[in-house]
C-alpha cells in the first residue's frame, strides 16, 4: 500500500472535522474521495500533507508514519499537492511558479528535466512562461497548479477539487490530463465535489459524510450504487 490512513481524527477549534476515517491508496491507482461541502475531504488532504495536525490515528506512507512530518518535508518524500482553489503564486511568473514546485529537488539537472516534462504536458504554460501567473485564465492556472505539483516528481499526487470553478469543457480537459498523469505512473488521491467525473477516472472511491466514511468500493460499483446516484450524482 502506498498510503494507508488509519482511524484518523482531526479537530479544529472544537469542531470535529474527521471522526476516525480509514482508507488506503494502492500504488498506481486513482482513488477518489467524494462527498458534500464540509464532509472533511479537504481536511483529509491537508492532514496528509502536514498542514493540519492529526489528533490521533496514523498516516502511513510507504511504510513510514508521516503524521508529524512538517509539510515542507512531505514534498521531499514524494507527496505533492494541487491545492484547492489552485493557489498559484499570482505575483510570480509561470516559470517561477514551476521553479517553486521543484524547490525540494536539490539538483538543477533534475529540475530541468521536470520542467521539460511539464512543458511537454502543458504546452500552453511554455508559451506563457514569462507571464505573471495572476494574468492566466482559470483553466491555465489549474494547469499551472498541476504542473507545479509535478515538478517535484511525486509518487503520490493529492488533488483538491481540480474541477472547481471551471467551464465544463475545461473540466473534461483537466480530467483527461489527470488520467494521463496516472498512466505515466503517478498515484493520485483525488478529492472532488464533481462525483460524476471523479468516479469516471477513479479505480476506487470513498464517500465521506460529516467526517466519516459512509461508503467505499470500486468506482464503477459506486457509480451504480443507488444511494450514491441519489446523493452525489444528482439523480
Amino acid at each position: 500500500m502506498l498510503l494507508a490512513v488509519e482511524n484518523l481524527h482531526v479537530s479544529y477549534g472544537g469542531i470535529r472535522a474527521l471522526k476516525g476515517i480509514s482508507f488506503e491508496v494502492e500504488e498506481g491507482k486513482i482513488v477518489a474521495l467524494i462527498g458534500a461541502n464540509g464532509a472533511g475531504k479537504s481536511t483529509t488532504l491537508r492532514t496528509i500533507c502536514g498542514l493540519v495536525r492529526a489528533q490521533s490515528g496514523r498516516i502511513e506512507y510507504k511504510g513510514t508514519v508521516v503524521n508529524k512530518v512538517p509539510p515542507y518535508k512531505i514534498v521531499g518524500m514524494g507527496i505533492s499537492m494541487v491545492p484547492e482553489g489552485r493557489r498559484v503564486f499570482t505575483r510570480l511568473t509561470v516559470l517561477e511558479n514551476l521553479e517553486m514546485g521543484a524547490y525540494s529537488r536539490g539538483s538543477s539537472q533534475e529540475a530541468k528535466e521536470s520542467l521539460a516534462n511539464v512543458f511537454k504536458r502543458f504546452p500552453r504554460l511554455q508559451e506563457r512562461k514569462s507571464q505573471l501567473a495572476g494574468t492566466l485564465s482559470g483553466g491555465e492556472q489549474q494547469m499551472l497548479a498541476m504542473g507545479r505539483a509535478l515538478m517535484s516528481r511525486p509518487q503520490l499526487l493529492l488533488m483538491d477539487e481540480p474541477s472547481m470553478g471551471l467551464a465544463p469543457m475545461l473540466v473534461e480537459e483537466i480530467f483527461s490530463i489527470i488520467r494521463e498523469i496516472n498512466n505515466s505512473g503517478t498515484t493520485i488521491l483525488l478529492v472532488e465535489q464533481n462525483a460524476h467525473m471523479a468516479l469516471s477516472v477513479a479505480g476506487s472511491a470513498y464517500v465521506l459524510e460529516t467526517g466519516e466514511i459512509a461508503l467505499s468500493g470500486p468506482a464503477a460499483e459506486m457509480a451504480d450504487n443507488p444511494e450514491v446516484r441519489k446523493c452525489y450524482l444528482g439523480e
Binding site: Y72, G76, R91, L92, S104
Partner: protein, 291 residues
C-alpha cells in the same frame, strides 16, 4: 537652492529607505510590524561607533561589523520573541516586539552608562564637491552610493536567487509555499537577516551624517521609516524605497521652508494625504481577502 535641498532630501530619504525595507519585508512575510527594527538600526550605529572609535578601523569595516552584529541579533529576536507566537493572535507578537524594543533601548543605555548622545569621529573627510550650484559632501556621496548598492543587491537577491523567489512566494501565500517544500522558517530568518543588514548600514550612515547617536535614536527614525514603508505600500520592496525617498525629501523641504519645528508634522501630514487617496500605499497590492 531647490536642487541643493533635493540632494539633501534624497540623502536623508535613502537612509529611511534602508530601514523601511526591513519593515516592509518582514510585514510581507509574516504580517508583523517589527517594532524592534528601529533598535536594530540603533545598535548598528553603536557597533559602527565602537569600531571606528575604539578599534580605529575604516568606515567600510565598521559598516560590515555593524551588519555582522545586527544580522544574528535580528535572527535571534525573531526566534525568541516572535516565532513562539506565530500561531497566536496577531496582537501578541506586536506586544512582544514593543517589549524587545524597550528592552534593547534600556540594555544599551545600561551598558553605555547614560542615555546621552555620543558624537561620531570624522572617519570620512569633510570634502565638498560642487556640481554647479549644488554641493555634495563626501559623506552624502558615500550614503548615496552605499544605499544604492545595497538596494540593488537586495533587488537582485529577491528577483533572481532561489531564496529570493522563495521569499516572494512565501509573502504571497505562506501555506502554499510550505507545500512547495520551502522551509518557511528559513525564509523568515533570512528576511530578518536581510532587513537587519540594511538597518545596520543605515545606523552607521546616519550616525556619521548627523554626527550623533543615542540609545533612543531608533524610536523616531523607526517610526518614520515604518510610515515610509506604509506610504510606499507595506509589503512592497520598491514601495519602501520610494516611500523613504519621499519622506526624506518632504522633511528637508519642510525645514528649508522655515518650518523646522514642524518638520515632522509636514512629513506625516503628507503621508496622511497620500494614504487618504491610496489606502494601500503608492505601490501596494490591493488587499485581497481570502475566502
Amino acid at each position: 537652492m531647490f536642487f541643493q535641498q533635493l540632494v539633501n532630501g534624497v540623502t536623508l530619504g535613502a537612509t529611511y529607505a534602508l530601514i523601511a525595507l526591513g519593515y516592509t519585508m518582514v510585514y510581507g512575510i509574516i504580517q508583523l510590524i517589527n517594532f524592534a527594527h528601529g533598535e536594530v538600526y540603533m545598535i548598528g550605529a553603536f557597533v559602527g561607533l565602537i569600531m571606528v572609535a575604539v578599534y580605529k578601523v575604516n568606515f567600510f569595516i565598521a559598516l560590515l561589523a555593524a551588519m555582522a552584529v545586527c544580522i544574528p541579533l535580528a535572527v535571534l529576536i525573531e526566534r525568541v520573541a516572535y516565532r513562539p507566537l506565530r500561531n497566536s493572535t496577531r496582537l501578541a507578537p506586536l506586544i512582544s516586539a514593543l517589549g524587545v524594543s524597550i528592552f534593547l533601548q534600556t540594555l544599551v543605555t545600561l551598558i553605555k552608562g547614560d542615555p546621552n548622545p555620543l558624537g561620531f569621529p570624522h572617519v570620512i573627510q569633510d570634502t565638498v564637491y560642487a556640481l554647479g550650484p549644488v554641493k555634495f559632501s563626501l559623506i552624502q556621496v558615500v550614503i548615496l552610493i552605499v544605499a544604492s548598492l545595497l538596494m540593488v543587491f537586495l533587488e537582485i537577491t529577491v528577483k533572481y536567487t532561489k531564496i529570493g523567489k522563495a521569499m516572494r512566494a512565501t509573502s504571497e501565500d505562506y501555506e502554499t509555499a510550505n507545500l512547495m517544500g520551502i522551509n518557511v522558517n528559513h525564509v523568515v530568518s533570512f528576511t530578518f537577516a536581510a532587513g537587519a543588514a540594511l538597518a545596520a548600514a543605515g545606523g552607521v550612515l546616519v550616525g556619521m551624517y548627523f554626527n550623533s547617536i543615542n540609545p533612543f535614536m531608533g524610536v523616531t527614525v523607526g517610526l518614520k521609516s515604518f510610515c515610509a514603508a506604509v506610504v510606499g505600500g507595506i509589503g512592497s520592496i520598491p514601495g519602501a524605497m520610494l516611500g523613504g525617498l519621499l519622506l526624506g525629501i518632504a522633511e528637508v523641504f519642510g525645514v528649508a521652508a522655515g518650518f523646522d519645528t514642524y518638520k515632522e508634522a509636514i512629513s506625516f501630514g503628507l503621508l496622511i494625504i497620500i494614504l487618504l487617496f491610496r489606502p494601500t500605499g503608492l505601490l501596494g497590492h490591493p488587499i485581497q481577502r481570502k475566502v
